[in-house]
């Protein structure tokens, strides 16, 4: 009975933050800086290892194979992906502006920067879908094709997650008072995640298209 | 008092060391040694047994002693000594294991290179070998005297090779191709027509195996040789051993390969050279038209390399010899040589491609 008491007392705060329980019940901990950014960074480090594993597999396949890409594989078009890369990399700078703006509590600017990032990210995804549709090989055509689709597809999935985050935060920002007064973890998280997706893409692009 | 302590401790340590050394020579844990590699292995194993037994006795003895000596007596609610650390002691028990494992590492490395012959040290040289190595030629059915001249003269004069002579040259390794499939082993003796499901090798001669798998991973294991090698589809792996004890030993699949993994086993027979030669002859005679051999060959047929029969037919046609060769072809030693050349060529391509 008493256990549920705590829950009902904290329901309101829980909606705002994961840390509500601590903030509410343990005053001496509330002076801790927001740990969620730290947590997110640790998580992304781990997530990065997932890509590392896939990259390592790709590089090994490539090193072991007698010819790479295997003979008969059509050459990858690099122009579109290059444009895509430019768009994605610049979007990282755009979302960084949102990060700046929120620190000045300028929620209007944040919305615009988020919208711009969202559009750029969506363009990237659209470009990727376009590329998929015009490639001459399918998922199972060859080992090269499989690694290509799985790596870019998996990254594409992360872009999608990033876009969803940005969209959610953008919508949330219309709630009065949201993200103001230093409570801008949501904005920061979306932006950090977006940078992560970006960095992964740069490695991926160099590996798949350039190397 | 102090000297008495030292004597006691020294006595305990000497006892432990003596017991470990005795046990390392008398543990009886390993099966019969049937290959030269097993001798090397057992020496290393015994050395390790001595070390681990000593540590085992030391630790367990210490634990039992402490449990008796330092047990809490009824009514004693005091604490022990506030002993937080002892720098010298900690250095000692860091240094001794470090030295021990380094020694184990070096000794293991040494045994490993001896077991693998000189392969490890000369590995970078592998690509500079002449396309047909002497070892492979040694498997050809030809007199031992012929083989001696071969290393400098890789081109074989097919006219001079008398047919039906199946004498093994014991100075060069015997090469056998091993193909693993669920749930059987198939052994091909290059240079002969022999394809069997049981392996026969002469005692005292080095054997080189080229292992491959048809479907999933398997592992070739002969406990009496202390050797094991995974067979992996698409990759040729190698293994060498020199059997030194007559007898029949099990060949066991040691990598999970499916439901009947436990039943995937056969035997290797180590014979005297004379016995082995007569076995070779016997097998060669049946091999040419036994349905079993044909079945094995069918199994071994791989889309990437033609079957022997197809190859032979093609070769024969190219050479404008008799048109209906397939039935007689195995009697003609000259074609056999070509056949063998083909096989050698395919080993070499597969070997170089995996390197």
């Amino acid at each position: 009975m008493q256990g549920s008491t705590i829950d009902s007392a904290n329901v309101v705060e829980l909606e705002h933050s994961d840390d509500a329980t601590i903030a509410h019940t343990a005053e001496h901990h509330s002076e801790h800086p927001d740990l969620r950014v730290f947590g997110l960074l640790v998580f992304l480090g781990s997530e990065g290892m997932l890509f590392m594993g896939l990259f390592a597999a790709y590089l090994t396949f490539r090193a072991v194979a007698p010819a790479w890409p295997p003979e008969g594989t059509p050459k990858l078009e690099t122009l579109l992906p290059a444009i895509n890369t430019v768009i994605l990399v610049s979007s990282s700078f755009v979302i960084h502006q949102a990060d700046h703006a929120i620190k000045k509590d300028d929620i209007k600017a944040v919305r615009w920067w988020f919208l711009a990032t969202f559009l750029m990210g969506a363009t990237f995804l659209a470009g990727q879908v376009y590329e998929y549709m015009h490639l001459e090989f399918g998922l199972t055509s060859s080992l090269f094709a499989s690694t290509f689709y799985v790596l870019t597809g998996f990254h594409g999935f992360h872009v999608f997650v990033g876009l969803t985050l940005i969209a959610i935060m953008g919508i949330k920002s219309f709630k009065p008072g949201a993200f103001l007064g230093g409570k801008h973890f949501g904005i920061e998280a979306a932006s950090i995640y977006w940078h992560f997706v970006d960095v992964i893409w740069i490695v991926l692009f160099l590996m798949l298209y350039i190397l | 008092m102090k000297i008495q302590k030292i004597i006691q401790i020294t006595a305990v340590f000497s006892l432990i060391i003596a017991a470990s050394l005795w046990y390392s020579q008398n543990h009886g844990l390993l099966p019969v040694q049937a290959a030269e590699e097993a001798v090397l292995y057992d020496n290393l194993f015994n050395a390790l047994i001595a070390i681990v037994t000593a540590i085992f006795l030391l630790v367990q003895g210490f634990i039992i002693y402490s449990m008796i000596r330092f047990r809490r007596r009824k009514g004693d609610d005091t604490d022990g000594i506030a002993l937080h650390d002892n720098f010298v002691l900690e250095i000692v028990w860091t240094a001794i294991p470090t030295i021990l494992v380094m020694w184990v590492g070096i000794y293991s490395f040494d045994v490993y290179t001896s077991m693998k012959g000189t392969d490890f040290m000369s590995m970078p040289m592998a690509h500079h070998h002449s396309p047909i190595s002497a070892e492979q030629i040694a498997n050809l059915a030809m007199p031992a005297a012929m083989a001696d001249t071969l290393p400098s003269q890789p081109e074989i004069d097919s006219q001079q090779a008398p047919s039906g002579q199946l004498v093994a040259d014991s100075s060069l390794p015997l090469v056998i191709d091993v193909s693993a499939m669920r749930y059987a082993w198939i052994f091909t003796y290059p240079g002969t027509e022999i394809v069997t499901s049981e392996m026969h090798v002469p005692v005292g001669r080095k054997v080189k195996l080229n292992l491959n798998a048809q479907d999933v991973n398997h592992a070739f294991w002969v406990p009496q040789f202390r050797l094991k090698q995974d067979t992996i589809p698409g990759i040729t792996t190698n293994m060498e051993f020199t059997p030194n004890k007559l007898g029949e030993y099990p060949i066991i699949c040691a990598e999970l390969c499916g439901g009947y993994h436990g039943g995937m086993r056969t035997t290797i027979t180590v014979q005297t050279p004379t016995e082995y030669d007569s076995w070779l002859k016997e097998e060669a005679e049946v091999a040419s038209n036994s349905p079993q051999t044909l079945a094995f060959r069918q199994v071994l047929k791989d889309p990437t390399q033609m079957s022997d029969r197809e190859f032979l037919t093609e070769q024969a046609q190219a050479m404008r010899i008799d048109k209906d060769l397939p039935t007689e072809i195995h009697d003609h030693i000259d074609r056999m040589n070509h056949h063998h050349m083909h096989e050698m060529a395919s080993y070499l391509t597969s070997a170089t491609s995996t390197n």
Binding site: A56, S146 | Y41, V52, I55, F62, M123, Q229
Partner: protein, 554 residues
């Protein structure tokens, strides 16, 4: 009822009103780290019993050389699921999620974990993932071993079971990553004022190291699972040589996780032992810093030894030598820990009750597993012993003799704190003796089996091994029986055991400074850091030089 609660919470702050945790909390999406810890422990113990049941069937099958009890395919399914359950649903979640969640905040003087909700999410992934895995028995259980080596795992007849296996591994991996994020952030940022890293209990060091390994290695396993899943379900050929793939790449990815996984399973248990030995020996832990750093060192080395599982896979020689040296080096920090524990016992006042018995049992059994591990680290020795019963013996000495003994020790030690009641000591000793005897009877002879030529993962074997296998099976059944005294002891004591005082063992770590069971917010006031975690013992200068080290033999 609800109205009452609302009124209470509206009129007064929750802290003074609630000093116990309602039982329904344990069946809810609770964010209290103590509730989650117990949820983990109870759930995983349930999985342990199921895994043990499978082990019993396996041992019953192996009591005779022929395949006569279950079909070969079912047999393969049993040992595959047995291993998966024991690793991913028992030891890993029990030692990190279970003990880690319960103890870390209490030990560092925090009110909860850094992310309570995330913590609950991490836990609640486990029951459905476990149920999913077990459901595979209805579709043909995955039967390619917990290693799931391709091409076998791609060409398997149990397609659905294999896919379920892959999916549940990904889920369980996600859960353990989320838990690890929480531990790292909690230990780094939520220690109470005045507690630096070197006054933290060693268990926290162990959890920190294990979490580091989880964060670095588990995602790589997820990568391998994704690629394997594509091979299995979408027809790609990453690991299938007929389509140009490379099965050995899978082995590298798999062992990059699965070797560190061993340390994920054993490091927190090292931590548990480092807590229990000083308390029940009434002595400070010997060599605090050496133990703390050796955890970190094991964590680092643990990441570069994975290919020692592949010495027979045709890996290049230089790679084998490198991994051999790295593997052998793991013995050094591990040895430091073992020797430090032994030195902790020396000169103590050993309270030989169930917690210490299991802890000493741990040291004793783990040493056997460690020594056979050193032997296996040597490439030539491993070539003969790889994939034999020697390996089975080795890792059961590490994971059962090691981890499970340590978990039991932890149960006995912290049960009074968690439940507020004491366990029955007599049945605790019965449990220990049965477990110890059964365990050694079951696994010691397996060393001989492997050396003599019995491969692992076989349903039928050479009749010459029949007698030894019968001994192993008898040991396994004793082991199965040994869980009953514990189960009844724990269940009975939970409700009817004598009430425990706050600090029944007279221990110094912070979790013993609160009530038993702890207040939902851990401490009613602020926790007080009065001493270091291991400041036991009579000061050295009060002891005579003579009795200090050598002891007096009367």
């Amino acid at each position: 009822m609800t109205q009452v609660i609302e009124r209470i919470s509206a009129t007064q702050p929750p802290e003074p009103s609630s000093d116990t945790t309602h039982w329904r909390e344990y069946f809810s999406f609770s964010t209290d780290h103590k509730v989650i810890g117990i949820q983990y422990l109870v759930t995983t113990f349930g999985f342990y019993l199921l895994g043990g049941l499978m082990a019993s069937v396996i041992r019953a099958e192996l009591a005779t050389p022929d395949t006569d009890l279950v079909s070969s395919d079912l047999y393969n399914g049993l040992f595959t699921v047995h291993a998966t359950v024991m690793i991913f649903l028992w030891i890993v979640p029990a030692v990190t999620g279970g003990f880690g969640n319960y103890l870390v905040p209490l030990m560092i003087g925090a009110r909860d974990m850094a992310f309570p909700k995330l913590n609950a999410v991490a836990f609640w992934i486990i029951p459905p993932a476990g149920a999913l895995l077990l459901s595979s028995f209805f579709f043909g259980a995955p039967s390619t071993g917990w290693t799931a080596y391709p091409p076998l795992s791609i060409l398997t007849d149990q397609h659905v079971g294999q896919a379920i296996w892959i999916f549940s591994i990904i889920l369980l991996g996600t859960s353990s990553i989320l838990a690890a994020v929480n531990f790292v952030v909690t230990i780094f940022s939520m220690r109470m004022p005045g507690m630096d890293f070197f006054s933290m209990p060693l268990f926290c060091w162990a959890i920190l190291s294990a979490s580091g390994l989880v964060l670095i290695a588990t995602p790589v396993l997820a990568g391998a699972m994704i690629l394997l899943g594509f091979d299995l379900l979408a027809g790609t050929n990453f690991f299938n040589p007929t389509g140009g793939g490379d099965p050995v790449v899978y082995q590298h990815l798999f062992w990059f996780y699965s070797h560190p996984a061993v340390y994920v399973m054993i490091l927190p248990v090292f931590g548990i032992i480092s807590e229990i030995l000083p308390v029940h020996s009434r002595k400070p832990i010997f060599g605090y810093k050496a133990i703390a750093f050796s955890s970190v060192f094991i964590c680092i080395l643990g990441l570069v030894v994975w290919a020692h599982h592949m010495f027979t896979s045709g890996t290049p020689d230089w790679l084998r030598i490198f991994f051999m040296i790295a593997t052998l080096l793991v013995a050094v920090p591990t040895g430091i820990k073992v020797f430090s524990w032994l030195a902790t016992l020396w000169g103590g006042k050993l309270r030989l009750e169930s917690p210490l018995l299991f802890a000493i049992g741990f040291v004793s059994m783990f040493v056997v597993g460690g020594l056979s591990g050193v032997m296996l680290g040597s490439v030539p020795v491993d070539i003969h012993l790889h994939d034999t019963y020697f390996i089975v013996a080795h890792f059961h000495y590490v994971l059962f003799g090691g981890s499970v003994f340590g978990i039991y020790a932890g149960f006995y030690h912290w049960f009074p704190k968690m439940v507020g009641r004491m366990l029955n000591e007599f049945w605790g000793k019965v449990h220990f003796v049965l477990t110890f005897v059964g365990f050694n009877l079951c696994f010691l002879p397996m060393h001989l089996l492997g050396l003599q030529g019995m491969p692992r993962r076989v349903a039928q074997y050479d009749p010459q091994f029949a007698n030894i296998n019968v001994i192993c099976s008898i040991g396994a059944f004793i082991l199965a029986i040994s869980t009953f005294p514990f189960l009844f002891n724990a269940a009975w004591s939970w409700f009817y055991g004598p009430k425990a005082v706050d600090n029944p063992w007279n221990a110094l770590t912070l979790e013993w400074t609160t009530s038993s069971p702890p207040h939902p917010h851990n401490w009613i006031g602020e926790p007080v850091l009065a001493t270091g975690p291991y400041d036991y013992g009579v000061p050295m200068d009060e002891f005579e030089e003579e009795s200090m080290f050598t002891g007096t033999i009367d």
